[in-house]
Point group: C2
Chain length 435, copies 2
Amino acid sequence: MTDDSLTDDSAPAAPQKLSRRGLLGLAGAGVVGLGVGVAGDRGVLAATATAGGSTTGGTSYPFFGAHQSGIVTPAQDRLHFAAFDMSSTATRADLIELLQDWSTAAALMCQGKPVGEFGAVDGPYDAPPQDTGEALDLPTGGLTITIGFGPTLFVDASGADRFGIASKRPTELTELPHFPADDLDAQRTGGDLCIQACSDDPQIAVHAIRNLSRIAFGRASLRWSQLGFGRTSSTSTSQVTPRNLFGFKDGTANIKAEEPGKVSTSVWVNSADAPAWMAGGSYLVARRIRMTIETWDRTALSEQEKIIGRTKGEGAPLSGGTEFTAPDFSVLGRADKPLIDTDSHVRLAHPDSNAGSEILRRGYNFVDGNDNLGRLDAGLFFISYQRSPAQFIDIQMNLAKNDLMNEYIRHVGSGLFAVPPGAKKGSYVGAGLFS
Amino acid sequence: MTDDSLTDDSAPAAPQKLSRRGLLGLAGAGVVGLGVGVAGDRGVLAATATAGGSTTGGTSYPFFGAHQSGIVTPAQDRLHFAAFDMSSTATRADLIELLQDWSTAAALMCQGKPVGEFGAVDGPYDAPPQDTGEALDLPTGGLTITIGFGPTLFVDASGADRFGIASKRPTELTELPHFPADDLDAQRTGGDLCIQACSDDPQIAVHAIRNLSRIAFGRASLRWSQLGFGRTSSTSTSQVTPRNLFGFKDGTANIKAEEPGKVSTSVWVNSADAPAWMAGGSYLVARRIRMTIETWDRTALSEQEKIIGRTKGEGAPLSGGTEFTAPDFSVLGRADKPLIDTDSHVRLAHPDSNAGSEILRRGYNFVDGNDNLGRLDAGLFFISYQRSPAQFIDIQMNLAKNDLMNEYIRHVGSGLFAVPPGAKKGSYVGAGLFS
């Protein structure tokens, strides 16, 4: 169940405590100073669940390790992603304490445990419960919690070095460039910090974001958030390729955990890269991509396949073969035109069209109700991990200029975050930034 | 796998066709007159799926039968609910044809089949695919599709009898009364028609609503829609009681499918009830209930339990026992006050407080991002089924006036729909309305 051989938390975790501020966030005034124990283990309670009660199982991934989980971890089915802004009064000490508290709570939740004392018998009955409780009977559900830092954490909009870490900012961690046809909503863009919570059960992912938001109280608050209901990429060869809301298989040629060479070259920041505190980390790009599915749905199958460059049913490249056959861009058809259009998505996104650049995609389908014209607010919440933001920028600039698909999509939200390496047990995510 | 012994579609379905209009909706201009076959059966493709590819199984429920599925069917884990308005130019014939098309398509999807021809080999390559395709590799996922009629379908806001069915309107099918503290958003309230799609896989539920919306093209369009990620009620004794976003078990005392007496008395419209076309049907109430979870989370455990009337961990009534012990409202505690507060939710919602009225609850948790203050837009999408809307109205009036929980909730959306009985094979949902 570990996704990294260097992880070291198979042993029982040492007792951990939330900070005074973290407790305040969880419980409001009145409980400061109470010890924090762990009253229940969801895994035990979950043993009574039937198939009808929960569709998830007891898979668990370590929070501590050389890399953060949730990157090369086989993509879980559900997502709750949240971006946070630090409060205007927060100090460097507050930021450190917040990251410590988030790490402590995340490690507990990834083991299926509540974030603090709970229940009338063990907990403080006259104080708010420290865990909100909605995941109490659920199994671990393969939860991963992945924490990232936005450019504004290092240098804010006014140029201020609020937390004394401006000198530690990776040169590449700046706002993404404006891509052609970007239509970004400031309310869905940016953020000082981000948390990606993935699980096979949405209630477990929602529970994680909710409780981490509470813990942040007074130090950081939610800027924007997004639920995703269906993964759109495989990150392991053990997974079936899922479909996006265009109805096509997505992520066939994604980087897989079983390709250590590619993962090492394209996903993890290397110890030779700067800055040193990011070694073993990665860069996360999030893009909320609205699909105009009503228009797409009125497009001929032949046109849809031309745009994608693959068949809709099997997902095979139009140059022939089956889903996992490599596309052959040189094969010509009628009138000596390439069978895979030069402006097709599969061709423009292919490493051959991008100087070899590859990224690890980890996106989710979303539907957020509908607009006043009766059109579903639906699309792809794109997430990718890469060793350098330049990999994404090169590919996206190419796609934004040429992709036939652009007629049917609109990028409406965006974020770039530096995802530090995993924390050692007893430490916290991002510790290297403050040493 | 059937939820009703009277269902009769275990035999292979007779070939069914969508109307010319339905095809237009699916495919746009250019394919009218093409025959509609079924090119693929998702069940076959799904046999290759791994646990990582989909968390759902091959459960299937019949679309045809004495009652519509999705009512006493064991509550699936995920929901996509949609309300539609008929177009201003739609005729009685259009409404009949739409209900026929929806029934045809729903029956196919409940068997795991796409709604029309699909794919380069079997389908019309130069026309839009009739099925949008995103559920193509998925199993049946326990999909149910339940169709209802709003008051405005019978008599519109101007008093017009647009479809010649005003005389068939059940007397009880009118707008719900204004309840104290209702804060309804017109954009999330009402509708001429509704469809409840439930599945253990959200992508399957979304696929159903999306394709039924396409089929409605030119005849009806989406008014509002809601995704729900976690069921909040058990409707079968085989199910573990889930938790709502207050962190409490919800629906412990719900009507269960295994209680035929209660189902018969409280859920199904009886042949002695009027009008005759509703016999075997039910009334659906939907309420979007926003929870102010940030405030709730700052409330002491003792206060939370007082409000609910049950313990948070076990879900036992405060009068003692375990989850399924009946609450004893007569037990007194300190100062001779009842252990279960007179204004607690469990007490006010109990049949004893409502002249014996019971309803079958079938709601879902939702989180739709967050507001500008960083508060999650979260709550309960309440759905209940009852033989008469009066059952809900009595209980809700009692709750709205007295429930201690009101401080933490706000009803922001609402709908009442008459859900006709199930269709016989070869017929369609609502046929009795037009005979």
